[in-house]
């Protein structure tokens, strides 16, 4: 019990330390010493950067030994430079294919935020004056199609769904793509059941959905986006690897960035797969989706400017 009490006490302090760590660490006028490096290391690891956190710290220490880091201002700017170099370009909405609707397949592990992200994407594209159709190819989870249908109504979008439990997801996807083409929709967003990246047979099922979409509309799916939960840690990297090798993921959507989690795992994903982050989700309402902005993302990990603390 002594261990627990001690840990709890230390964690209490941690939270404060991290809390002002981000502002406190870079408040200016601080000398570079072992304590600062320790705090820095904690800051990076607790942002879920994973092994990259260790690498960055080593690199900073090396630079410091060579006298290339003078004050904490140098530390911050170097760190920001390093992080931006790993996650540079900002995102754009995908281009419309020359003919027919843009078909987007949405995949991810259970509960990552797929269905809600689709709702938000539908909202975004509708606002741009596009006609959106939703395909409810999650035929597995209880009430999944009902959930999507509510969002379709709120968006004034059409939906293709099956009323049968356990219907073939590929055939729902096929119908959605076909309907989108026939009805002259601009975008078809296909929702799929959550699945863990370790479930081979379920990844194969996704492969089939992809194939079948290609039969319905030439070149479909034009995009396959993996929705990641920003509160996930290093497992997100495995998710990205496995989904990408199964269904050629073309972009990431990072949901649930409205909490205190920083989503640092995307750096590891960039390192391994160079997958672009397209959008970030910052809440449960239709408007809570933005194009990914690397600057703002990095700000949340290592804030810019001195004495101002983190950006809200």
């Amino acid at each position: 019990m002594g261990v627990l009490a001690r840990l709890a006490a230390r964690l209490g302090r941690t939270r404060e330390a991290i809390g002002d760590g981000i502002s406190g660490l870079f408040r200016g006028g601080r000398e570079i010493d072992a304590a600062l490096f320790n705090e820095l290391e904690e800051l990076l690891w607790t942002s879920d950067l994973g092994p990259i956190a260790g690498e960055l710290c080593e690199e900073l220490k090396r630079l410091h030994r060579r006298g290339e880091l003078k004050g904490e201002e140098d530390v911050r700017s170097h760190l920001r430079k390093e992080l931006s170099a790993r996650l540079d370009e900002s995102a754009e909405d995908p281009p419309q294919p020359s003919a027919g609707p843009l078909i987007v397949l949405i995949v991810g592990v259970n509960g990552s935020g797929k269905t809600t992200s689709i709702a938000k994407l539908a909202h975004r594209f509708t606002e741009q004056g596009k006609r959106v159709l939703l395909g409810a190819a999650d035929t597995f989870r209880a009430a999944a199609a009902d959930q999507l249908e509510v969002w379709a109504e709120r968006n004034g979008a059409d939906i293709v769904r099956s009323h049968k439990d356990g219907a073939d997801p590929a055939s729902v996807a096929f119908d959605a793509a076909k309907r989108g083409q026939e009805d002259g929709a601009d975008i078809v967003l296909v929702d799929t059941a959550g699945r863990l990246h370790t479930q081979r047979n379920l990844l194969e099922e996704l492969e089939k959905v992809r194939r079948v979409l290609g039969k319905a509309v030439d070149g479909a799916p034009h995009e396959t986006w993996l929705v990641l939960d920003a509160t996930n840690g290093q497992n997100a990297v495995q998710q990205a690897k496995e989904f990408t090798s199964a269904v050629e993921v073309s972009g990431l959507v990072l949901a649930k960035l409205d909490g205190t989690a920083r989503g640092g795992a995307v750096f590891g994903i960039r390192d391994a797969l160079s997958l672009p982050v397209r959008y970030v989700g910052t809440g449960e309402s239709l408007g809570d989706l933005d194009l990914f902005d690397p600057g703002a993302f990095i700000d949340a990990i290592v804030p810019e400017g001195s004495g101002e603390g983190p950006r809200a």
Partner: protein
């Protein structure tokens, strides 16, 4: 990326093997490796740091065991520390002295609350003879009520909901209904919320103060990263948590969040979720979790699973046939299928120490197994019983039938012959006679009668050898597919030497073996 700790330590302790003492120096290097492993497993930075301090003291302190290999003692120390931190094992839901027992289930969005509520209801109903009532208090997420209703139907538990009402009213009316209808447990499924959403956090706190639940359970996704600490803290300060449930452990997340959570809340992990189906709720075992976090593989889990799923009689038959030399291709196919019942190959292999991390890169995936099985099923029963019939033209037919090269058929037959030869030798050595019937069965499972993992007793028959030496291993391996897999040849047990400390020795024999559950193909698919 996730190199297993065992691999890491093996290299960092390379010079240390066989040395009997831990020194301040070699311990530092080991500590660095373990710290890295903990962090990559998503254990919170500060928790990892603290653990390292503890183990440094422990490893160098007076608890040092003389005569034990330094690296083993070192891993043992970490394992123990983690087990202590995450324990005790006998966590339970406390029932109220005056029913109904009200259980509030809370957590972040998408953590698995609704599914867990249904799983819990099923468990309480079937294992504790309770009459639960599910209450749909998530009025926020679209179709959340409908989701719970469907799940409730699946487990045969009624679901209480009130159209258009706010959560406190839904819950109080649910408790009221439970009293009236004689439900002795009420499970409240609340909406997911992020801990920074102050209003929502106050809402759930208020709900708890109003309904006064007997148990307040936080559901956490095993894939959660460093943020687990902050969110658990907020929930713990708004609620009075009594227990935790960790979900989605059926994936490959190392689940380091479990350690952080326990440290922050002091609450025991009651159960773990291991799938999307309503029966996928299991008790929490700190020792297995420790092994998983340290990347040592869930050996105990594998052994227990093996003993549950491998049919006793079947194993006995195979064993006898092997020893008697009447082993046919038909038996080999049966053995293959028996093995596959343990689950997807990667999952099975992933549970093994030293292989865990590598399983992904090996070509022993289920496609490979499917190809193997296709070879067998393209043979006629007569051919399987009398492999001697298989001349070139038959082999070509089988190759065509299974969509593979003749080489694959030849390879399989060669494996079969090797296997048979090995069995014969073993029979000659009199091993069959020496072992009792029970020992034989256990040998086939890779376990000895005392529940210890079998060493050599199983000879070529053990589960270990299925993967390694003469048995299925040779079906899988041989041609270089298993390149680099650290399985000793000749049927020695791959568990030997690097099993997690403190697991098998402190662990009782898994409860009586169940007959293999009948699972339809469809059911297994999902």
């Amino acid at each position: 990326m996730f190199e297993s700790l065992t691999e890491r330590l093996t290299s960092s302790f390379a010079g240390l093997r066989g040395r009997k003492e831990l020194t301040a120096e070699n311990v530092e290097e080991g500590l660095r490796e373990v710290r890295q492993a903990l962090l990559e497993a998503d254990v919170h930075f500060r928790v990892a740091k603290d653990l390292v301090e503890k183990v440094r003291e422990r490893a160098l302190g007076d608890e040092r065991i003389k005569g034990v290999d330094a690296s083993e003692q070192f891993v043992h120390a970490f394992h123990q520390e983690l087990v202590e931190l995450m324990g005790p094992e006998d966590a339970r839901i406390q029932f109220a002295s005056k029913p109904p027992t009200v259980i509030l289930v809370a957590g972040l969005q998408g953590a698995g609350k609704t599914t867990t509520c249904a799983k819990l209801a099923k468990l309480l109903k079937e294992k504790h003879q309770k009459r639960p009532l599910l209450v749909a208090a998530d009025v926020k997420r679209p179709a959340a009520i409908e989701q719970l209703r469907v799940m409730g139907e699946r487990v045969g538990v009624p679901v209480h909901s009130v159209e258009g009402a706010a959560p406190p009213l839904v819950c109080t009316s649910g408790v009221h209904r439970a009293k009236e209808e004689g439900h002795d447990v009420v499970i409240l499924d609340t909406a997911g919320r992020l801990h920074v959403a102050e209003e929502l956090m106050r809402e759930v706190g208020g709900l708890a103060r109003e309904v006064k639940p007997d148990a307040q359970v936080l559901v956490v996704d095993a894939m959660t990263g460093q943020d687990a600490v902050q969110s658990a803290e907020s929930f713990h300060s708004e609620l009075e948590l009594t227990g935790l449930i960790l979900t989605k452990l059926d994936g490959d997340a190392r689940g380091g969040a479990a350690v952080s959570l326990k440290a922050v809340t002091g609450c025991p992990v009651l159960f773990v979720g291991t799938g999307e189906k309503v029966e996928d709720l299991e008790p929490f075992h700190p020792d297995r979790m420790a092994g998983r976090i340290l990347g040592m593989g869930d050996v105990v889990g594998l052994v227990e699973k093996a003993s549950q799923e491998i049919d006793e009689r079947e194993a006995q038959d195979t064993y006898e046939k092997m020893v008697m030399g009447t082993f046919t291709l038909e038996d080999m196919l049966a053995q293959l299928r028996m093995m596959r019942r343990l689950g997807p190959m990667k999952k099975v292999l992933g549970m093994m120490p030293g292989i865990g991390g590598m399983a992904k890169d090996l070509d022993i995936d289920d496609k490979h197994m499917n190809r193997l099985e296709a070879l067998f099923t393209s043979m006629t029963p007569a051919e399987r019983l009398q492999p001697g019939l298989l001349d070139m033209s038959r082999r070509r037919r089988i190759a065509r039938g299974s969509g593979q090269e003749v080489g694959a058929v030849n390879e399989l037959l060669k494996r079969f012959k090797d296997m048979k030869k090995l069995m014969k030798q073993m029979g000659k050595m009199g091993m069959g006679a020496k072992l009792g019937a029970k020992a034989k069965r256990d040998a086939l499972k890779g376990m000895s009668a005392t529940g210890e993992l079998a060493g050599d007793a199983g000879g070529a028959g053990g589960l270990g050898s299925m993967l390694g030496g003469g048995g299925l291993g040779s079906m899988l391996g041989g041609g270089g597919d298993m390149g680099g897999m650290p399985v000793p040849p000749g049927g020695a047990n791959p568990f030997e030497g690097n099993r997690p400390m403190g697991s098998s020795s402190t662990r009782k024999r898994p409860a009586k073996r169940k007959k293999k559950p009948k699972r339809s193909r469809k059911g297994r698919k999902r």
